[in-house]
């Protein structure tokens, strides 16, 4: 887990002053340095001028759509972006993720959720190592040894199940879309609808092996209509 130091700079983009105020207070208390923008235009300017390490971006901005802002920023920067939005339609979320956002959070949310998302997307800023070991609760994912344990007991996974878990573990805490998984594990780029059942079946089998109660998953969470997320913190 990363302890954010004073050097980490966050740009908050939201047209509602009260939301910026609440975010600023919360993030400041966590040791982040906070910058603000109220419009898409300001966001594009400040994302250069303020040298932020991450962006918290509202979708419904007065001058341009947050998805458009994401697309513009992605043309020149790989800075982590977390979307905040009142829109709960899957299509909006997928559009934001496809445009290059790293994760999203539906308003209203608790600050705990926001901080967890921020930590997860900012982990990307650290050097990535293939041999890291992920531990959440009783689940251990050791990628260097290709070993998965529950309560220190090794679990036997099929190669496909392992690959799915590996993609999720490398991005633990972050939402991973169906498309991303189908591409990474099955190498599918077309007719994703037609092969989506492969993913569902694998996920169901994987959960049966690692979840204490497969009907109420604890480690691999479903993001309805979007994808899956591996829990990174308790």
């Amino acid at each position: 887990m990363i302890k954010p130091d004073a050097a980490l700079r966050i740009l908050i983009v939201d047209d509602e002053k009260s939301i910026r105020r609440f975010l600023k207070t919360t993030l400041h208390a966590q040791g982040f340095q906070v910058f603000e923008a109220a419009t898409g235009q300001e966001a594009l300017e400040n994302s250069v001028a303020d040298h932020p390490d991450a962006l918290i971006l509202d979708l419904g901005l007065p001058d341009m759509d947050g998805i458009e802002v994401t697309r513009e920023i992605r043309k020149r920067s790989q800075i982590p972006i977390v979307i905040l939005s009142v829109r709960e339609q899957e299509a909006d979320k997928i559009a934001a993720l496809d445009a290059g956002a790293d994760d999203y959070l539906t308003k209203p949310f608790s600050s705990g959720e926001l901080l967890a998302r921020l930590r997860a997307v900012m982990r990307r800023l650290l050097p990535q190592e293939e041999d890291q070991v992920l531990k959440v609760g009783k689940l251990t994912v050791d990628l260097s040894k290709r070993m998965i344990c529950i309560k220190d007991q090794p679990v036997k996974l099929t190669p496909t199940e392992y690959d799915v878990l590996k993609v999720l573990a490398l991005n633990s805490g972050k939402v991973i879309t169906h498309r991303h998984l189908l591409q990474a594990v099955w190498n599918k780029t077309e007719d994703l609808e037609g092969v989506a059942h492969l993913l569902r079946v694998t996920m169901s089998n994987l959960r049966n092996k690692i979840e204490p109660d497969p009907n109420r998953p604890f480690y691999i969470l479903t993001e309805p209509g979007i994808g899956y997320r591996l829990r990174s913190e308790l």
Partner: protein, 499 residues
């Protein structure tokens, strides 16, 4: 008869004279020539009744000539030996002409009466059909259909809409372009019959009749004009135009009345909503504001009290969020703004996500037992909508149950449907309320100690029905409630599972 060439009746009357002459030839030995005049008078009467004035008059003259030529000595010449026959000729001619006139008049009247009857029948049918028409569209169809029968050609009806004339009905072969609309508009504005066969723009291919009422002009009837119609049809079309105007006005009025009724219904609903929602929205706000103001103002609060106030405010904000969410969902379901995206879904995953979305405090110590076979087929559904449904049902099951009462979720296949049952052991629903439990804003008296909007199950019903499914309730007071969601297992979906 109308289609016969016009000389045909004359020829027929001549043939009749020839026949009379032949008969006269047969009987002239027994009768004086003057009596043979009767035969010719008979011919004139028949001609007048059957074929009208023209043929009867011509028959009168030809009869005199034929009588003279054939029967008045010297026979087979037009010369007359006995000058008293000249008087017979004059008598014959005058009587024949008078009979012609009278008989033709009688015939005209009979024809007129027939026409009036036909017209009356047609108009009667028209008004009977119009009376049964329930909306403007039906009225226009009936009018158009009758007009087409009378004009025996393509017809169209124009009605004013936002200050411009628009085609509201047309038979398939009637092309309506800018020109046609322009001629119709002229008829509408000038209260004038325009187009083919009139003095205004006669070159256009159709005729346009304004539909007049005492209030003004309510539209324009157009029919393709290839050749002039007979008088009868023109009269009928005019009569139809008059009826059309009245019928259209009446339909428009009825429509307006219906809209007002709808508006009133909506207003009633809004009032209900306002009453129910203002109370439900206020209550959590009262707690949140109260808790926060205590925290702000009272520095002497001990940490335990502070924590309690904060937790209370947090829970109430969740409740507020849920109410707002329900209201939005209800509006979406009601206005049809929800776009359904149905995909095959793994039921236990959907149940898992639904449980995940219920606040932990709500689940508390309730044991939740899920019985879904791993082989349960995938169901075609809109994932996020079905999650809302399950969350609402589970939320009810939890909040109307004692703190440690269990909730069971079962799934089974009944014929070609998946039935998902949610069973609780809570307070139950009185049997008198069971039929209304899915109504908007309905809340059982029995449940009034527990806060709620009365929207949850209405939303569930809307969503399940949008999936061509069915939602049912079984309940026993103080023993528990079971909600059953039945969703179709479609053919396509069975295939995708046949791996």
């Amino acid at each position: 008869m109308k289609n016969d060439p016009s000389w045909n009746p004359y020829l027929k009357s001549l043939l009749l004279i020839a026949a009379a002459s032949l008969l006269g030839e047969g009987v002239q030995r027994f009768l004086a020539p003057a009596n043979l005049v009767m035969l010719y008078l008979l011919v004139v009467v028949v001609s007048a009744i059957r074929w009208g004035r023209g043929p009867a008059v011509s028959a009168s003259f030809v009869s005199v000539l034929a009588f003279d030529f054939l029967f008045v000595p010297p026979r087979l010449t037009f010369s007359v030996a006995d000058s008293q026959y000249l008087l017979t000729f004059a008598g014959l001619l005058i009587v024949a002409l008078v009979i012609s006139a009278l008989a033709a008049q009688a015939r005209d009247r009979a024809i007129e009466a027939n026409q009036r009857e036909a017209q009356a029948t047609l108009l009667y049918n028209l008004s009977r059909n119009l009376a049964a028409a329930y909306d403007l569209k039906a009225v226009l169809e009936i009018l158009g259909d009758h007009a087409r029968q009378i004009a025996r050609n393509e017809v169209a009806l124009f009605l004013p809409e936002d200050s411009a004339l628009k085609v509201c009905y047309k038979t398939p072969g009637f092309f309506i372009g800018e020109n046609e609309t322009a001629v119709a508009t002229l008829a509408f504005q000038k209260d004038l019959t325009t187009g083919g066969g009139t003095e205004t723009l006669p070159s256009s291919g159709a005729r346009y009749l304004p539909l007049k009422t005492t209030q003004g002009i309510s539209g324009v009837l157009a029919y393709k004009f290839e050749a002039a119609l007979d008088e009868e049809s023109e009269r009928l079309l005019q009569a139809l135009a008059n009826q059309a105007a009245v019928a259209i006005d009446r339909a428009l009025l009825a429509e307006k009345a219906h809209q007002i009724e709808l508006l009133q219904e909506t207003e009633k609903l809004q009032k209900l909503l306002l009453n129910s929602v203002s109370h439900d929205l206020r209550t959590p706000l009262v707690s949140i504001k109260g808790a926060l103001s205590s925290l702000l103002e009272d520095g002497a609060l001990d940490p335990k009290a502070r924590r309690e106030l904060l937790e209370n405010a947090y829970e109430e904000s969740d409740r507020l969020n849920q109410i707002v969410g329900n209201l939005l969902d209800m509006t979406r379901v009601e206005t049809g703004l929800v776009k359904m995206v149905k995909k095959p879904c793994d039921l236990s995953d959907v149940i898992g996500v639904s449980l995940q979305q219920i606040p932990k405090e709500r689940i508390g110590k309730h044991p939740i037992a899920i019985h879904i076979s791993p082989e349960f087929p995938e169901i075609f559904m809109d994932l996020s909508l079905m999650i809302k449904t399950f969350v609402n049902i589970l939320d009810n099951a939890l909040k109307y149950s004692p703190a440690d009462a269990g909730v069971e979720i079962n799934a089974k296949i009944v014929h070609d449907h998946a039935e998902i049952e949610f069973t609780d052991h809570g307070i139950g629903i009185p049997s008198k309320d069971l039929t209304r439990i899915f109504d908007k804003f309905f809340r059982s008296e029995h449940s009034h100690t527990v806060p709620g909007t009365g929207l949850g199950l209405a939303i569930c019903k809307g969503i399940v029905e949008a999936h061509q499914g069915e939602i049912r309730v079984e309940s026993r007071l103080n023993q528990g409630t079971r909600i059953v969601v039945s969703l179709p297992l479609s053919q396509a979906q069975n295939k995708s599972n046949a791996k």
